[in-house]
């Protein structure tokens, strides 16, 4: 991905995540949150936060992050609740874009580079 495309993707992602109101309605419906017996970093809300902090440099790229982002089943239960009760965010699309940006770093092998 060239630099311009990467910047555009980053901007789109941050804009979409900025719509989140932190109502946390998407936390409890997430099957991976339930399977982990309630760890918020394993919920849709947690993943949105993780991607946001990766993009703004608070979190640094780390292999363990792939676990949080790739554990999402893309079942879209979070999107259903977000559409009905929250802000109608394309949560799964955000995760896919987040994964794609992470993969770029994996491929490049720059394990400490901020996205």
């Amino acid at each position: 991905m060239d630099v311009n495309k990467k910047d555009a993707a980053k901007e789109t992602l941050l804009k979409e995540i900025a719509r989140c109101r932190s109502c946390r309605f998407c936390v409890d419906v997430c099957p991976t949150y339930q399977a982990s017996e309630g760890v918020e970093s394993m919920s849709a809300y947690g993943r949105l936060q993780i991607i946001k902090y990766l993009l703004n440099g608070i979190l640094e790229f780390d292999d363990s992050l792939t676990y949080f982002l790739y554990s999402c089943l893309q079942c879209r239960r979070c999107e259903v609740i977000c559409k009905g009760k929250g802000q109608d965010i394309d949560i799964c699309k955000v995760f896919q874009m987040g994964r794609s940006l992470l993969s770029q770093n994996l491929v490049q092998g720059s394990s400490n580079e901020k996205i």
């Binding site: 109502c23 017996e37 970093s41 609740i81």
Partner: protein, 502 residues
């Protein structure tokens, strides 16, 4: 010279001493702690099990943010998150944290609207999500529930016992009973009808910051008279203890009747509420309103035609069906006092669900259109109209932002006005978000001070600690600080909330 309780004069040195001690107590954030994360991970894993102790940064960050519009800062990020599943485990964590002087932040579901859900200092987050036990004892007239149980699920679990859960937060799908009792909020319900959840709490099990486990209250449906710990631990906002079990009375489910009333102006609804109290009309269980602009957003959000003006939604309760019908009919008659365009009883459950959800959705949908900055105005009921106009004036003339709009809705029968500043974009710098939130909160809270209100839903610390000082003065505030110091000598629990750190 002021006198103490014993009649002895309190000299200036005493006051200076107290002020110095309080400042030292409240300034603990400034002392940077030397926390060895590796050791902390190891120690916490021993206390709650490896699978329930997390010190990785992504997990810590997932617990750092709440509904406050501005981003987290370094001091908000926890050192660790632990998920205990018993009061014994919580006791061990608190004993350890107290000994090491590490702050502990209790996390229910993090849905507070006044910053209670965000850690104010690096800390151990105590996630109560695994504390979900429930036992219902119809023969004893109560149920016992652990704090992590979600309100909506608890309501469902109580339904077969024909029991009403006296708490109605908008976030009930995720809000926990522990949070509700910690803040003592009935949320949308009218206090004059249903009181507060704390009024139905018969007793609790709590863990003190020093690790001792206390049992309070009674197993009888007869509540203790006289001094009893339940009363001041309910509503203590996680400052004095961690609640681990709540014993609550089973309240028989009443019959309900619903009314929707359409008005030209919000003022007509305010007149109605003022008349309701003045004339001694029995208050309903719910009396919600949407102002002219909010009603349009809310109704369209649920697929209804936009109403011509403001809307009131009222739910009447009674222990018998006949009584309910009679009470609803009488209330409909009373509503003429506010000259509604139309007021009608809604019997169809589907129709009512749609109308009722328009109130809930208004807040969500307004936020979809931009950014909102809310307030909670709960003034003396005879000053409701003045307060509403002043709130409108405040919101439309902010110093920190020009060109915002005014929206309002809320539990007007309680009375609560949620006056919102709306900015039609999400692209606002962090410092402006903080400034607008602070200005809206500070100025609308001056109305609560001016007109005898205190807030009845969102809790009183975190962002609102300054309000406590303004409303009640330094002596009252010091009393709370001293109370906290007595129970939490190292100020580990929810540090920063009583101090008002943003």
């Amino acid at each position: 010279m002021r006198a103490s309780f014993t009649g002895q004069p309190l000299d200036r040195i005493w006051f200076v001493k107290c002020r110095f001690a309080r400042r030292k107590y409240l300034n603990r954030r400034l002392i940077f702690m030397d926390v060895d994360l590796k050791k902390l991970t190891k120690d916490l894993a021993k206390l709650v099990g490896k699978e329930n102790a997390f010190t990785d940064r992504p997990t810590a960050l997932a617990y750092a943010k709440d509904a406050m519009p501005w981003d987290v800062e370094e001091q908000n990020i926890p050192y660790a998150v632990v998920r205990p599943d018993s009061s014994q485990e919580i006791s061990r964590v608190l004993r350890y944290a107290n000994e090491k002087k590490i702050p502990v932040h209790t996390h229910g579901s993090g849905t507070s609207l006044v910053g209670l859900g965000r850690p104010k200092t690096n800390c151990i987050v105590l996630d109560m999500g695994r504390m979900k036990g429930l036992e219902i004892f119809p023969e004893r007239g109560y149920f016992e529930v652990e704090p992590g149980f979600h309100i909506a699920k608890l309501r469902k679990a109580l339904a077969p016992y024909n029991a009403l859960l006296p708490a109605f937060p908008g976030s009930e799908l995720v809000a926990t009973i522990g949070g509700v009792v910690s803040v003592n909020t009935s949320a949308h319900a009218i206090d004059a009808t249903l009181c507060k959840p704390g009024d139905y709490v018969l007793g609790m099990e709590v863990v003190l910051p020093t690790g001792e486990i206390l049992q309070t209250g009674t197993e009888s449906t007869r509540k203790p008279a006289g001094i009893e710990a339940t009363k001041f631990l309910v509503g203590s906002e996680g400052l004095l203890c961690v609640i681990t079990k709540i014993r609550m009375r089973l309240i028989p489910l009443p019959y309900l009747g619903n009314i929707v009333a359409y008005y030209n102006r919000t003022e007509d609804i305010l007149d109605t509420v003022m008349a309701m109290y003045k004339q001694g009309i029995p208050t309903p269980m719910f009396f919600e309103y949407l102002d002219e602009k909010s009603s349009k957003v809310g109704f369209e959000a649920v697929g209804l035609k936009a109403p011509p003006g403001a809307v009131a939604m009222i739910t009447i309760d009674s222990s018998t069906q006949v009584g309910c019908e009679e009470k609803t009919r009488k209330f409909l008659e009373f509503l003429k006092v506010g000259n509604p365009i139309e007021a009608k009883i809604v019997k169809d459950k589907g129709e009512w669900a749609q109308i009722w959800s328009s109130r809930a959705e208004a807040g969500n949908y307004i936020y979809r259109l931009g950014s909102t900055f809310g307030s909670e105005i709960t003034v003396r009921v005879d000053k409701l109209k003045e307060a509403f106009h002043e709130a409108q004036d405040i919101i439309l003339n902010l110093e920190s932002y020009k060109g915002n709009e005014f929206y309002s809705f809320g539990h007007i029968g309680a009375p609560t006005i949620h006056a919102y500043a709306f900015i039609p974009t999400k692209d606002i710098p962090n410092d402006v978000k903080k400034a607008v939130a602070k200005e809206v909160r500070d100025k609308t809270e001056e109305l609560n001070v001016k007109y005898g209100g205190c807030g009845g839903e969102w809790g009183l610390t975190a962002q609102r600690a300054t309000f406590l000082k303004k409303k009640y003065g330094e002596v009252y505030y010091n009393f709370l600080v001293n109370l906290k110091r007595t129970m939490d000598p190292n100020n580990i629990l929810n540090r920063g909330n009583l101090e008002g750190w943003m």
